[in-house]
Symmetry: C2
Subunit: 195 residues, 2 copies
DNA sequence: CGCGACGTTGATTTGCCTCAACGATTGTGG
DNA sequence: CCACAATCGTTGAGGCAAATCAACGTCGCG
């Protein structure tokens, strides 16, 4: 863990096996970055140029609607990949912001480098296909929840699915992720305490 | 278009280029199936053994909650892939149903065949990675909509994004997709007609 | 210390759901 | 080919879950 390369390689080795030269190629495109709490990794309006892997800390991706309310698209803690994928793929300005909820360290891969990597080391297609499959399934479940469950049920699902996140993330951020107001979430928690 | 193989190969050629032997390999794993309107392609409880490509017609994937209400996860028309991905990946019983809203024709690929295909023709990793990226982005936008928009805004987004779907799908199915009751959607449309 | 971020609680409003009834259309079996 | 049931959309009345608006306490930090 002292070496951040160790951490990311371990994660990758869950899905694919790389030769030594491929490992070197991969390492060479990683750019290490530190973010202070509240610091932006990406601001809406800029183009998302990087795919980012969280080494340590916690990020949030969110949109801001016309009346200034924030809506959290996803959280990303250690071992998660994050970007505004639409912006990253199309080169159009990002609609999402990404910033740090804690002091955070990431590896960033530039788009060109990632595309070269896909060609030089086809295994990466396989890995990201698998990661995307998992993310797709998780998102689908979130959608089903949001159209079929009450606020309380959604909150219960959330803490069951992400018990550790619940610990380190402020309540109002969780509320925003679930599409609730902080007041409503507070009342739900009060309800549940009576048991 | 008379030959269904033509149709699917054309779709695939948007993303990858295959050699003649690879094309043959691919064709050999496709299983052609016809579904009558209302017929199931997958029933909750069964394991999703196939990834399915829609040649003609329209499918819906949906869950049924404890009190019997259906919630539409996605529609799939010509050119779309559909399965209960979680069940397909893990081999656990499906939580989703998939059935036909119209008479429909599909190509199905069995899981084992698809995995072999990934190994024999690595380009398919690339293609499905790209398709999943697009699906991921679309889902993310649906999530943002569902936690930040009013019912009317969501409906407007839907008909803007999928103008053709709006034509061929019953209103109550659209309502279910949006997480609304048919009554609410009917009232929204009445509202909008006043303009 | 004083300010801003965060959570809580109360009073009120509102958007959407529920329940119920009805017309139009489709399709199906006698 | 008609009669009947089922499906689908519409409209109305009433209820409820969650939002809004507002006030207040606590904590941590510059």
């Amino acid at each position: 863990m002292s070496d951040p390369h160790e951490f990311i390689l371990q994660h990758i080795s869950r899905h694919i096996t790389l030769s030594e030269p491929d490992i070197q190629r991969f390492k060479s495109v990683l750019r290490y970055r530190k973010l202070r709490k509240r610091q932006y990794l990406l601001q809406a309006g800029d183009v998302s140029l990087y795919e980012n892997f969280v080494l340590k800390g916690c990020l949030r991706a969110y949109t801001v609607d016309p009346d200034g309310t924030e809506h959290i698209v996803m959280f990303a803690v250690e071992g998660w990949w994050v970007s505004d994928l639409y912006s990253f793929l199309t080169g159009t300005p990002a609609t999402q912001n990404i910033d740090a909820l804690e002091d955070t360290e990431v590896f960033s891969i530039e788009k060109n480098d990632l595309e070269k990597l896909y060609q030089q080391v086809p295994e990466f297609n396989r890995m990201f296909r698998i990661l995307l499959q998992n993310a797709f399934v998780a998102q689908q479940q979130r959608i089903i929840g949001s159209i079929s469950q009450t606020a309380e049920e959604q909150y219960t699902s959330f803490i069951t699915k992400y018990p550790t996140l619940e610990q380190r993330i402020p309540q109002n951020q969780v509320a925003s992720y679930l599409g609730l107001t902080p007041e409503t979430l507070s009342r739900i928690r009060k309800q549940q305490a009576k048991k």
